[in-house]
């Protein structure tokens, strides 16, 4: 095994034992990037030089606490001081932030070795990374298929062993869905667990930063690093952050797992259902009590989300007006025309579509019928979860209705693309945490098992995921990519 193929905790052990250096890890990752990046295309920007400096500094100090010295990368909507942050959009192609996002500052304080910025659907709007204004990213398990999205670059880079772990953001499934498609572990923490300061906003009441890792232990380590209250984000919650590695106990005897039947209805591939059923049988074998339940408003989550998220986006993206940063159409003769033509040039079709949809839903005469209605339905969706969590420790469902689809398969059918997030969206509306873990395979492609927890009960999810991981062999399987 090359170093780049190992997990963060395996590498950390080797660092502490002085068997290897942070520079060795970086070199191994760079070699892997040289080998596979032309096929995968996960990176928008490589920051080899600053990564090398950090690795050297960690090695000189010899202090390998936390995730110090481990090579990682960031979704390109997390602001990095002095390094361009594009959101995979023409609008921000040359934008160089004057500050670090809070999560980036935490990683720098820890001396994480940041190798670069990863491709995504433009402004995090999409489910396949085909909406990147620059290039699509491929799924390392099958280069003809999408890696999922919007954090597709993050999932693909980790699955392809180009980096050891990555950060992403999740507004309606954008960490979990690509994690499922690429066979890695993806965690969307509780809304408020991780500061959003410096995350370019898409839908502020739904966005949350999280991790894409090779296993559950790494997930706990990254969560330890990024969680916590931040005065720069008034929606981050001032609650104690436990050491998440304490939850890595391979025992779920007596745990109550609810399985909402609505997540197994029409549209879910039979083979995906079968994989999830087998995974649930495994949980039962391991001593958990698995029981069918119901979240009756599930089918209404998707339409409510596609009103709320675009409405918030239309407001958030109003800032891209060509005045203070980003693209500007310099030919426009007056300021109104400058706004409109700058935005026409800077945004791709999906971003425009969502701005239009959100603007319409908020416009005079339609606000009550669409936006207000959607907010009421959001409460019903959240109350479904409240009721379920009065009975169950976690809920288990498929992360996605199908395995990774082919590039171009859905790019012309807007609603069909939206449907690929049907099992992840309700979780964002409710603000609860959820994790996707490889739960099995269909035709050599990974299937994600999604575990959903109570607010701030990431630890419980980690314990269930860890127990599953330790008793199956799905986590850690590698695509054949680059092995010729």
């Amino acid at each position: 095994m090359e170093l780049c193929q190992l997990t963060a905790h395996e590498l950390k052990d080797k660092l502490v034992q002085k068997e290897i250096t942070a520079t060795d890890i970086l070199d191994s990752c760079l070699q892997r990037v040289a080998q596979v990046e032309t096929q995968v295309k996960a990176f928008v920007t490589l920051t080899e030089e600053s990564a090398r400096e950090t690795a050297r500094a960690v090695d000189e100090k010899g202090d390998y606490r936390g995730l110090a010295g481990i090579t990682c990368a960031l979704k390109d909507n997390l602001c990095t001081k002095g390094i361009r942050t594009t959101c995979s959009s023409r609008m921000l192609e040359n934008f160089v932030p004057p500050y670090d996002a809070t999560v980036v500052r935490k990683m720098k304080d820890e001396q994480a070795v940041i190798l670069g910025k990863l491709n995504m659907d433009e402004f995090a709007m999409g489910s396949s990374t085909e909406n990147s204004a620059f290039f699509p990213t491929s799924n390392p398990w099958d280069l003809e298929r999408v890696p999922g999205g919007s954090s597709g670059g993050s999932a693909a880079a980790v699955a392809a062993d180009e980096v050891i772990y990555a950060l992403g953001s999740d507004t309606g499934g954008s960490i979990r869905q690509p994690a499922a498609f690429c066979g890695v572990v993806g965690m969307k923490p509780t809304y408020g667990r991780v500061s959003r300061y410096g995350l370019v906003a898409f839908a502020s009441s739904l966005d949350q930063i999280g991790s894409l890792t090779k296993d559950v232990t790494d997930c706990a380590l990254v969560l330890n690093l990024i969680s916590g209250y931040d005065k720069m984000d008034s929606t981050s919650v001032n609650a104690e952050v436990p050491d998440y590695t304490r939850f890595l106990v391979p025992d779920i005897k007596g745990f109550k797992i609810g399985v909402p039947r609505e997540y197994f209805q029409a549209g879910v591939d039979e083979r995906v259902k079968e994989v999830i059923k087998q995974a649930l049988l495994k949980m039962e074998d391991l001593g958990a009590m698995v029981e069918e339940t119901s979240l009756p408003h599930t089918e209404y989550a998707l339409p409510a989300y596609y009103i709320i998220a675009p409405a918030e986006a239309s407001s958030n993206l109003a800032r891209f007006d060509g005045v203070r940063y980003g693209l500007r159409d310099t030919e426009a003769e007056n300021i109104i025309e400058m706004f409109a033509s700058t935005r026409a040039r800077g945004f791709g079709p999906e971003v425009k579509r969502r701005i239009m949809l959100g603007t319409y839903a908020l416009s005079s005469g339609y606000y009550d019928a669409y936006y207000l209605k959607a907010l009421k339905v959001r409460r019903l969706v959240k109350e479904d979860f409240d009721r379920a969590f009065a009975r169950y420790d976690v809920l288990a469902v498929p992360t996605t209705p199908t395995v990774a689809f082919k590039i171009h398969e859905k790019s012309d059918n807007v609603l069909s693309m939206y449907m690929s997030d049907i099992a992840t969206i309700p979780i964002n509306l409710a603000g609860v945490p959820a994790l996707s873990i490889p739960g099995g395979f269909v035709d050599g492609l990974p299937v994600g098992l999604q575990l959903i927890g109570k607010p701030f009960a990431e630890g419980t999810i980690l314990r269930v995921a860890y127990t599953f991981e330790q008793n199956t062999d799905y986590v850690g399987r590698k695509p054949k990519l680059g092995v010729n």
Binding site: N94, V96, P98, Y99, Y191, G192, S205, K231, S234, T235, V237, H297, E299, Y300, P303, A304, Y306, I307, S314, A318, G322, V323, R324, Y325, G326, R328, T330, A332, E333, N334, I335, I336, E337, M338, A340, R343, A344, F347, K352, R353, I355, M356, L357, T359, Y360, S363, Y370, L372, K373, L375, K376, V377, R378, R379, L380, V414, L415, A430, G431, P455
Partner: protein
């Protein structure tokens, strides 16, 4: 429900998006299809349901009103498409 060309134009104006005629037609069709799909929300009686804008029980978050200087003028102007005399420059407004 189908959005008329005029409605699409109006929304584009509100959103400050210049759309080509082709875009207008395409968005009109796509938005109509999406809005049709949204109609299923009307299956639910929500008359007595309070809207939920935000999952956290947060209301106003206050901090003391103290000025902080975190960025220099140069840093704030570094990404400006056009600047002059330390100010953002824009085309004429009137």
């Amino acid at each position: 429900m189908a959005l008329t060309g005029k409605e699409v134009e109006h929304v584009a104006m509100l959103a400050r998006l210049k759309l080509s005629e082709e875009d207008q037609k395409k968005f009109g069709e796509q938005l109509s299809a999406i809005l049709d799909y949204m109609k299923r929300l009307n299956d639910l009686d929500t008359e007595k349901v309070e809207p939920l804008a935000h999952v956290l029980p947060l209301h106003n978050v206050f901090r003391s009103d103290e000025a902080r200087q975190e960025f220099s003028r140069e840093e704030m102007l570094a990404n400006a498409p056009l600047e002059e005399s330390g100010l953002f420059k824009v085309p004429k407004i009137m």
